[in-house]
């Protein structure tokens, strides 16, 4: 791992942690686990 990238890794982990705290994976799942007609251009 390049040392100069360490802050980017830390930022990524912090963003993930905030997202997990705000239960965002549930929002992603909700959209991804049902057919998103809008997403695929039907309707």
């Amino acid at each position: 791992m390049q040392r100069k990238n360490i802050w980017i890794y830390i930022t990524a982990v912090v963003l993930l942690a905030i997202g997990l705290y705000r239960h965002e994976p549930a929002a992603v799942w909700q959209r991804a686990a049902t057919i998103c007609l809008e997403c695929i251009g039907i309707g």
Partner: protein
């Protein structure tokens, strides 16, 4: 079939491992759908077991409320700094489809006129269709929309619309003018893919834009040992993506330049070894 194509194929199979979906037209609803896959793979594909990062980003950004999609941002930042556009070249199912179509017989446009300008087109697409339009839709109507998926993404049309429309008659009844538009876009890109190497990746894909930002810093990817490089231009000449410099934002790390460099100045980064040390070692 070389190592890269085997890995591309494996990743496509893993991303779409829900085989029953292709038989019954129902999409996977397991918990893994809460996690994003690194490549572009529509989450409404009947076989998809993970979420598309682009679709997830737009949905969380402007779904039922405007909010910063921290979780998706953290995920794609991690993917970006780990592998950059190595993901495009090695782990993207839609990249594999494009490469397969380019192998079909037909006229090949090796050097695309206006590539220098066209490659900036995707930055505009990313900003307008992934950021501005979803937010604008929410501000205007109170409901956001994944504009890139809805109006452009041919991966979604090919991987999700086609199989779902074929297997689900009720969905076919819901098809409208947007469906017609999306199939036109898909047909346009399918024809382009036969003639041009990875046109969607090079000129449109917002995920490629994001990963390209991290390409030089990523743990995996292509690097150039500057001290050995004689600027002969061989890497540019053999690059199917017409990257100006090996390892830059256009480079998908296919490795063709690594094999072709007469000075052996181009190499795949070793995650366990500092590039500077590698450069010294290789001398």
């Amino acid at each position: 079939m070389d190592k890269r194509h085997v890995i591309q194929l494996l990743s496509a199979v893993i991303y779409n491992a829900h085989v029953p979906g292709f038989l019954n037209g129902r999409i996977f609803q397991g918990e893994s759908k809460a996690a994003c896959v690194p490549g572009l793979n529509c989450y409404s594909c009947p076989g998809a077991i993970g979420a598309c990062p682009l679709g997830a980003f737009q949905s969380v950004l402007s779904g039922t409320a405007l909010r910063i999609p921290f979780y998706v941002l953290g995920t794609v930042l991690l993917f970006g700094i780990l592998a950059g556009r190595f993901i495009c070249g090695w782990l993207c199912p839609f990249g594999l489809i494009q490469e397969a179509l380019y192998r079909l017989p037909g006229p090949k446009l090796r050097h695309v006129p206006g590539t220098g300008i066209l490659r900036y087109f995707r930055y505009g697409i990313a900003v307008v269709f992934v950021l501005i339009l979803p937010v604008a839709a929410y501000l205007i109507s109170g409901i956001g929309e994944p504009a890139f998926c809805k109006y452009i993404c041919p991966a979604g049309t090919l991987e999700a619309s086609v199989p779902l429309l074929l297997m689900n008659q009720s969905l076919a009844a819901a098809a409208g003018w947007i469906t017609v538009w999306k199939f036109f876009v898909l047909a346009f890109f399918l024809v382009l893919m036969i003639c041009i190497y990875r046109p969607f990746c090079r000129f449109v894909c917002p995920l490629g834009v994001w990963y390209g930002l991290w390409n030089r810093r990523a743990m995996l990817g292509i690097a150039v040992a500057e001290k050995r490089c004689t600027h002969c231009g061989t890497c540019h000449a053999v690059c199917p993506a017409e990257a100006v410099i090996a390892g830059n934002a256009e480079c998908i790390s296919c490795g063709r330049c690594v094999e072709s460099c007469p000075e052996k100045a181009i190499y795949f980064r070793n995650p366990l070894c500092d590039p500077e040390q590698l450069e010294v070692k290789s001398k």
